[in-house]
């Protein structure tokens, strides 16, 4: 078997395929044509190095894509909700409430996971374990983004009292980001295929600068409290009800507690 055939075989084994594989083999063929005695290294080592380097770049790109898709979702979500007056009494209340709750929960999880994926992904170098952490964070953001979009569509469908223009805008806001989210998912999958298992990534403390890293749990608690306070204020002021704000605050607090318990380890919140 020639060096180039062995390289092709090893690249495919390491998860590098398609046009990328052909390009690498062509470049190595050109190198060998320049210097037939060149020491290019063992095909297996070279292929593993390619998987390593490309896995790093693709992980970064996938995290960025996921964040971009989520940003588009957020903009459309805001546009769908702007200048809308909601009826005092809602028909189909449980379905509207359930989809609304899914929407709020999905958007928050997507935002937190997306920010965390970007925070670790932007570092100049990442170990394999850190790459897998970025991929997990991006995957959670992606899943939550898809949940948000689905809930937005369902919300538009079940909230029958709203004007036709609102319904159309809400459903469109849920559907438009889906192709970008699907593409981001494909890039994420391809990055995951290039990342070998093994090792443990440091938690949230590694995402924070300097002294802040030593107080990551306190910072988490502070951010959670601020989110609850914002929800209480929003519920009290906009709904003009003494009970609505605290009630929403309790739901937010419960959601944060459940979310942290369920996703804390997956998102690498703890070391």
């Amino acid at each position: 078997m020639s060096y180039l055939d062995a390289l092709r075989h090893e690249l495919a084994r390491a998860g590098v395929g398609g046009r990328r594989l052909d390009r690498i083999v062509d470049e190595f063929a050109d190198h060998l044509a320049c210097d037939p005695e060149a020491d290019l290294g063992s095909p297996r080592v070279v292929a593993e190095r390619f998987a390593d380097e490309l896995g790093l770049a693709q992980t970064r790109r996938a995290a960025l894509l996921v964040f971009g898709a989520l940003a588009l979702t957020a903009v459309l979500l805001a546009a769908a909700g702007a200048d809308t007056s909601y009826p005092a009494r809602v028909q189909n209340g449980w379905a509207v409430g359930l989809t609304g709750l899914g929407l709020v929960a999905g958007a928050q999880v997507a935002f937190v996971a997306g920010v965390l994926a970007l925070a670790r992904g932007r570092r100049r170098s990442l170990t394999c374990a850190e790459r897998r952490l970025v991929q997990r964070r991006a995957a959670v953001a992606l899943g939550a983004g898809i949940l948000t979009c689905s809930m937005l569509v369902a919300h538009g469908v079940v909230f029958r009292q709203m004007p036709a223009a609102w319904t159309a805008l809400t459903i469109a806001a849920g559907v438009v980001p889906l192709p970008l989210l699907a593409y981001a998912g494909a890039r994420l999958r391809s990055a995951a295929q290039l990342t070998p298992a093994g090792g443990v990534a440091p938690g949230l403390s590694a995402d924070l600068p300097g002294a802040l890293g030593r107080h990551s749990r306190a910072l988490l608690a502070l951010l959670g409290s601020l989110a609850v306070a914002a929800v209480v204020a929003q519920g009290s002021l906009f709904e003009r009800s003494a009970s609505e704000g605290p009630a929403r605050g309790v739901i937010e607090l419960a959601g944060i507690a459940v979310g942290t318990a369920a996703l804390g380890r997956v998102l690498g919140l703890f070391s």
Binding site: R20, E27, D30, G41, V45, R49, E53, L54, A57
Partner: protein, 104 residues
């Protein structure tokens, strides 16, 4: 000097090799050898994965060219690559100055 000793600096060296104009993979390796008076004798196969990653990160761009009937991939610095090189060069100066101050 082997790849291990250069780990962490290879990105900057590859970007610097392309500062004066586009080059193909073999020429980049030769340029690194030439500029370092043969000190940087890298395992040649390890430079290509770095080139591919730097391109994926947007610091390099590349295109096929035909030279004497042979297809070869030519790399060039992008604008982002040029500013990244300047930043890395500055980081290196600070680092080298500090190491020299400690060792002296």
């Amino acid at each position: 000097m082997t790849g291990d000793a250069l780990k962490g600096h290879l990105d900057a060296l590859v970007l610097a090799a392309l500062r004066d104009g586009p080059l193909h993979g073999y020429a980049i390796i030769e340029e690194l050898k030439r500029r370092s008076d043969g000190v940087f004798d890298l395992a040649e196969g390890t430079v290509y994965p770095v080139l591919h990653r730097l391109e994926a990160d947007g610091l390099l761009s590349s295109a096929w060219s035909n030279t004497s009937g042979r297809r070869r991939r030519v790399y060039r610095l992008t604008r982002r690559g040029r500013s990244s090189l300047a930043r890395r060069h500055e980081d290196w100066r600070t680092f080298a100055h500090a190491v020299e101050a400690v060792l002296a």
